[in-house]
Amino acid sequence: MHNTSASTPPRNPDETDLDTLYQIETPEGIDLTAQVAGPVPRILAYSVDLFYRSMILLALGIALRVAGNTGIGLWLLCSFLLEWFYPVLFEVLRRGQTPGKQAFSLAVVNDNLTPIGWGPSIMRNLLRFADFLPFGYFAGILSMSCSRNFQRLGDYAAGTVVVYREPVAKTGELPDATPTPPPRGLQLADQQAIVSLAERSNVLSRARQRELADLLQPVTGLSGDDGLRRLHGIGRWLLGARKPKQSKATATTDTPEHAEAAQ
């Protein structure tokens, strides 16, 4: 076991309290990060699962009605299995995701971010009943709210967390601008801000980008579209593009590949 979650030091004192990042150190000495999911998406995911389960039970009930007492016996058996083992089967066989969790792209993992196995999965789902007490998952929600990683009682005992399973990140297409060397004495934080502005150029609206660029008028000395273009240019320069022609060629050949690889 290499669970170091308890001993992972906070990265930066003024950004620990609000974010939902969950960090562990792998045996390779790498900090892996994941986003833990809070009570609201988990309750929604649970409701979806509850709906599916009820539908299955209803359908079974109708189908088994013709079988008389045998049918009732089988129905009771199925309802028992659904009640206690529906989440277990999905979590173990489908990489930590029940259908409800999949709908909200959540996944259960061990707290060292490895896939969940039978033991922990059965554990956290058996303890569901304790989380349910005294009614309506009160204990579970209370425990999640008090826990740093939104763990309910079952998660504590099984050593699991519920994280977001994000879609594969894509490398953004850079805006077509002439690379420009940045002004001298540009701080690192400012450099990063400019680079991320360039990277997000196809996500943000043009007007919003202009607005942001205007904030940097003291640095660029330009306003409006000119300022924005200059910032994009600086961003490309900072990312490593130098000669306009060559970089244009790489930008157009590189990025579709990225997108393909990402899918």
């Binding site: 076991m1 308890a6 792998t26 390779e28 000495g29 790498i30 900090d31 892996l32 990060t33 994941a34 007492n69 045998t70 009732i72 016996g73 089988l74 129905w75 009771l76 058996l77 028992f80 009640e83 206690w84 993992v109 971010l113 490895t114 896939p115 196995g117 039978w118 033991g119 922990p120 059965i122 554990m123 058996l126 303890l127 569901r128 009943f129 304790a130 007490l133 204990a139 009682l153 504590y156 005992a157 994000e166 594969v168 990140a169 894509k170 490398t171 953004g172 680079v195 991320s196 990277e199 990312l239 490593g240 593009a241 970089s247 790489t250 590189d254 590949e257 990225h258 690889a261 990402a262």
Partner: protein
């Protein structure tokens, strides 16, 4: 090195890993050999280094997020836990489970006491005092129980048909295993829930035993209960013991912090719960298909029931003592 150059230099390696991962995801198992990149650990270590470098040089968050995700997926692939083989299941049944019980003997005896003491008190009380049963049950329930075991109307008989045997099997599975799971799960509330359910079950069962004996339906009741009781009553006690183990880990965590202590206890308690589950399935099976049959004479039922008790007790006491301790500490079943 500028980020663009960094990306250009290693893009090939990353795509190789990405392709490998997606191939693996599509047809689980056939990935590594077919792709020519069967050296995942080495690629993975290189990838880790790239991520560390990217973080150190403060490359853009997009790149870091992408690498982080790749590392995460490889991590999940590499550190996946092994599935339980059938061999280990057999070993668990013949040695692991009774061993786990003996390791937690303190809690098993405590749960036993919590269950038997109220059962004894209520049993004797209801035997001597015919009004006491109404303290825990409504008159309708008492009537229902009396009519179930009344030798005069033999509803327990085989004549109810095998289809209702299956009905009762489903009912016992859902009801009894549910009770055991609840007894265990609520142990996490500092053991209070397990104590509550153990005492509650003890009180009810004791009351029924005492009352039925007093009314004199001995010839139907005891032959019915003795067979599956060996598995069912002990299993409920074991579930309670597992729950108490959980509660104890929170009250007295020892050298660990409460979270670690709870996890440790959870792992030990799960060993007991697997066995408990098996015992309850056996019990439900016996209760539905053996205990209810009236074709077998009472003498045979007592004999078989007694044999079951002997079997369960000697299993818990003796099984798995000879074999060497195989499972290393920390391994999960």
């Amino acid at each position: 090195m500028k980020q663009r150059d960094f990306e250009r230099r290693y893009e090939g390696q990353w795509q190789l890993i990405e392709n490998w991962l997606s191939a693996y995801r599509k047809n689980t198992g056939a990935g590594p050999e077919s792709n020519g990149t069967d050296d995942l650990p080495q690629n993975y270590r290189r990838l880790c280094q790239h991520l560390a470098v990217a973080k150190e040089r403060q490359y853009t968050s997009n790149l870091i997020a992408r690498l982080n995700q790749l590392v995460m997926q490889c991590h999940q692939r590499l550190y996946r836990q092994k599935h339980v083989s059938s061999h280990r299941w057999l070993e668990f049944i013949f040695a692991g489970f009774p061993r786990a019980l003996r390791e937690q003997a303190r809690f098993v005896w405590l749960a036993c006491g919590l269950f038997l003491a109220p059962a004894l008190v209520m049993g004797l009380g209801c035997y001597w005092n015919d009004a006491l049963i109404y303290a825990v049950m409504s008159p309708e329930q008492v009537l229902q129980i009396e009519s179930m075991y009344d030798p005069a109307n033999r509803v327990l008989g085989r004549e109810r048909g095998s289809d209702s045997d299956l009905l009762m099997f489903g009912f016992y599975i859902k009801n009894n295993i549910g009770i055991a799971f609840r007894t265990f799960a609520t142990g996490i509330l500092f053991g209070l829930g397990s104590i509550f359910f153990l005492v509650l079950n003890g009180v009810f069962l004791g009351a029924v035993f005492g009352h039925i004996t007093r009314v004199g339906f001995v010839s139907t009741f005891y032959p019915f209960v003795i067979g599956h009781g060996a598995f069912e009553l002990t299993a409920i006690v074991f579930a309670g013991a597992a729950g108490l183990r959980l509660g104890h880990s929170l009250i007295n965590p020892g050298n660990l912090n409460r979270r670690q202590s709870l996890r440790e206890a959870g792992r030990e308690a799960m060993k007991i719960m697997y066995g408990t589950f098996l015992m309850l399935v056996i019990a439900a099976f016996l209760e539905a298909f053996w205990s209810s049959s009236t074709e077998v004479s009472i003498g045979i039922k007592y004999a078989v029931g007694g044999f079951f008790w002997l079997l369960v007790i000697s299993y818990c006491v003796f099984a798995g003592r000879r074999l060497p301790v195989a499972a290393p500490a920390g391994s999960r079943l």
